[in-house]
């Protein structure tokens, strides 16, 4: 019977190009919400988004992107005072609860002069854009952050 059939797996695709707390925290929050709701999530880390996964910076204290003046400084203080969860800890929890795949953009690897050993182990491999697009061509939800 139709209602007994397993529902199709839904998928969320995220292209991450930023490397500041005000992007990484919403990114990690969005990913974990999608994992909680049972979606498979595929992330393509590109440019500053790839920098975010460089091994030491992945656990650095939150830094807000420039251009927000006093509000940016206030947010940094609030995040520290409120003991905000580290964005990568949120991602790791999400990955332990569902299907989360994070790929490094191969062009960014070349431009930034990175090798896979420079990256946090949560990144599962280096991928060309065509492969990422192919993996996510049926995604129900897509974000560019």
């Amino acid at each position: 019977m139709a209602e007994d059939a397993a529902p199709p797996i839904e998928q969320m695709a995220v292209v991450l190009t930023e490397n500041s707390a005000d992007k990484l925290l919403p990114f990690a929050t969005l990913v974990s919400g999608a994992i909680a709701m049972g979606l498979r999530v595929d992330v393509f880390a590109s440019y500053w988004g790839l920098e975010a996964f460089r091994a030491p910076s992945a656990s650095a204290p939150p830094t807000v992107s420039p251009g927000h003046g006093e509000a940016g400084a206030r947010l940094e203080t609030r995040l520290r005072e409120k003991n905000a969860p580290n964005w990568k800890t949120i991602l790791e929890m999400a990955r332990s609860l569902g299907e989360l795949h994070i790929y490094a953009c191969s062009q960014s690897m070349d431009i930034l002069g990175l090798s896979p050993s420079d990256l946090d182990p949560i990144v599962e491999g280096v991928t060309g854009v065509a492969t990422f697009v192919d993996r996510t061509r049926a995604a129900n939800v897509t974000y560019f952050i």
Binding site: A36, P85, T89, I90
Partner: protein
Amino acid sequence: MSETENATASVPPDEARRMVVDARGSWCPGPLMELVRVIQEEPVGTEFELLSSDEGSRRDVPLWLEKAKHQLIEVRAESGFDRYVIRKTH
């Protein structure tokens, strides 16, 4: 130190199948993630008391339970947080 890691789960000794998941202070979607984790780990029939001070949980938790087909027995507003009583049904 992450807020999510601060969430603790404990089993009262005289009521082995009721588990308190204290996710107060954890930010959205931390309490929901804690619930998803304990429901994956514990046996069918277990009841959970999820404590959350996150406003988003008020919609997120019932929505998730409906999708995941587990039972929401009760939601009780306490001072500064909500208590969700949940049963793992399958």
